[in-house]
Symmetry: C2
Subunit: 366 residues, 2 copies
């Protein structure tokens, strides 16, 4: 148990934005919401998963929709109370704690805001260890958990509750309502008991985000290596490519941000070409026709000078980025995990090969 | 109080298909569902609205979506129990009776099936006195009634509950989910107390449908006039046009059947041209550039030989039809009613003029 205040939020937002793998939304917007809530209602208690009783009701809180829309469409003030009331009434017992469902600039932050506003603790655990674009893409689906009863509220006061036969159907119905509500809403889903959360959740994700954020902030303080080497060391990342953005193709479709960013190599990658494709999150990184990494491993773009994560909605012509691969949570590499979030699910016709194997023998460039 | 069995269902389906004003779906499909339920579970008790206690919970049951899709996509067996459970749990009391929300080939029938299967009575009352395409288009909206909590279930077992700030928002959210579920679902909405139902409902609509159906079936038995004159007499309808269908334009869009049917005059209308535009239901009838009738008055097409109603999804090239106008329920002619269902709501740039005034001085043709 420890407290999360403004400085912790700054670090968590930064680290989670990296783990968002291009998605998860703008950390600036998320941070504003969380810091506003903590300043108004006081710091939030972060609980270790092991501190949660087996039968306690734990409820993930998130936003659903296109991150680019969230940045323009505010979050109201009463959504979290409505979500609490709806879920608590359904189960006939109080909610013990909130938790994030994914790591990312926005969805790592909103549960902190919700916890602060309702005076509830937050659990140091999520269901992805990164961000993914669709709601069935959580470790809890592998464990047989149900996304429903899922509650969805918009900033105008409209709300829906879904109960579905599969988590993929939850995605279909909730996505349709998200679109009808303007493309971004607040949700609670995968409400679960403490026991299940401890068995299938990605534990320690809030702390990992904070540690990463803090380390990224101090990356230039390293004395025995370059900032880039220090960044790779602290993130345990694999250097995939360094380049200048020479084109960005975008499409908002079905509530998602789809697109592709093209890179011209710089420094050791001079003369090479690479691209990264995304659906909210980065899906593949390809250089000179060779796949360097695919989902579910994390493909992260960071600024070459500041090492700040660059989410897909902030990609701009001329920006210089370092593309880094991070191994995903082990459960994603099982056949059940790959069926949910492997390359073929996203229409990418290649087998999943772990990042470390693809890059075995060292990077093929400096 | 009286019983509804198979022969009553036959008449109600026929009469309600006429009141459906082109919409409300294929009476054959609706009848199959209702007759199947009554044969299996026994006849349904029909209650007069005055027999309902003021504080009793009365729940309309309907299908939502495009009637053309319903005809291909079956209704499962457990939807009504799910709807009952959801609504009853929300209000914390049992449902006293079901009722239809509109008259039409399908939505006059499904509440009978639901009542039979759950052993509940049906109330002789609806919220339209005809059919309309969108769910906020009920007399209960004029009375300030809320469509929500609205429950929606599909034949696969997925369900949603909506609570919205306006009935128009209910339409937006429920329509989005209806589309995601394949274009046709079962719903309960405008759950209300007996007192409110008696104040704003269209009373006696089931009986009116049955009387009309029975009379249409015997229209050729008239001895003092032609079948057509007899048909106009029993329906109290205004003869608008008689013609042969020479073209049908259709479009399924946003879960609705949009379209236009073009008619070449026959008999007394020989040499004249007319068209009827529809959105599920017929919206306007125009002959030689002159508007004959508009929503919310009922524009009904019937076969010139059998006087069977021809719903918009059964319009076919070459079919000969009589176009008849029927005055709508008086509440629809108030400013509040016309704001909901007047011609301008549907994008038709004309003021509403009651059918009787438009045709004053008699029909301008024989």
């Amino acid at each position: 148990m420890r407290k999360i205040g403004v400085s912790e939020i700054e670090d968590i937002a930064l680290g989670a934005a990296l783990l968002g793998a291009g998605g998860g939304g703008d950390p600036y917007v998320g941070k504003l919401v969380a810091i506003g809530a903590v300043k108004e209602c006081g710091p939030v208690t972060l609980l270790d998963p092991e501190e949660i009783p087996d039968d306690a009701l734990v409820v993930p809180i998130a936003m659903m929709g296109a991150p680019t829309i969230l940045a323009e469409k505010a979050i109201g003030g009463t959504e979290y109370q409505t979500l609490y009331d709806t879920v608590s009434a359904f189960y006939g017992k109080p909610i013990f704690a909130f938790m994030p469902i994914e790591a990312g600039g926005v969805n790592s932050m909103l549960p902190i805001a919700a916890a602060a506003r309702l005076g509830l603790p937050l659990v140091d655990c999520d269901g992805m260890g990164r961000a993914f674009p669709e709601l069935q893409m959580v470790t809890f689906t592998i464990g047989g958990g149900s996304a429903t009863p899922m509650a969805l509220v918009d900033e105008k006061g409209n709300s829906s509750i879904f109960r579905t036969i599969t988590n993929k159907w939850t995605e279909e119905l909730a996505r349709a309502v998200t679109m009808a509500c303007g493309g971004s809403v607040s949700v609670s889903l995968y409400a679960m008991e403490g026991k299940f959360m401890k068995e299938y959740g990605v534990k320690g994700i809030v702390t990992r985000s904070q540690t990463l954020g803090s380390a990224i902030r101090r990356v230039k303080e390293a004395v025995d290596c370059s900032p880039e080497e220090q960044f790779l060391r602290i993130t345990e990342g694999v250097r995939l490519f360094k380049g200048k953005i020479c084109d960005v193709l975008r499409e908002v479709r079905g509530g998602f941000n789809f697109g592709k960013v093209l890179l011209e190599g710089i420094a050791g990658d001079k003369g090479r070409q690479a691209y990264v494709e995304f659906q909210n999150e980065n899906l593949t990184a390809v250089a000179d026709g060779r796949i360097l990494a695919t989902t579910p491993d994390l493909i992260c773009l960071v600024d070459t000078e500041t090492f700040q994560p660059v989410p897909t909605d902030a990609l701009k012509y001329g920006k210089r980025v370092l593309v880094v691969g991070l191994p995903c949570f082990p459960l994603w590499r099982t056949p059940e995990g790959l069926a949910l979030v492997g390359p073929r699910y996203f229409g990418i016709d290649t087998d999943y090969i772990p990042l470390e194997e693809r890059c075995k023998g060292g990077a093929d460039h400096v």
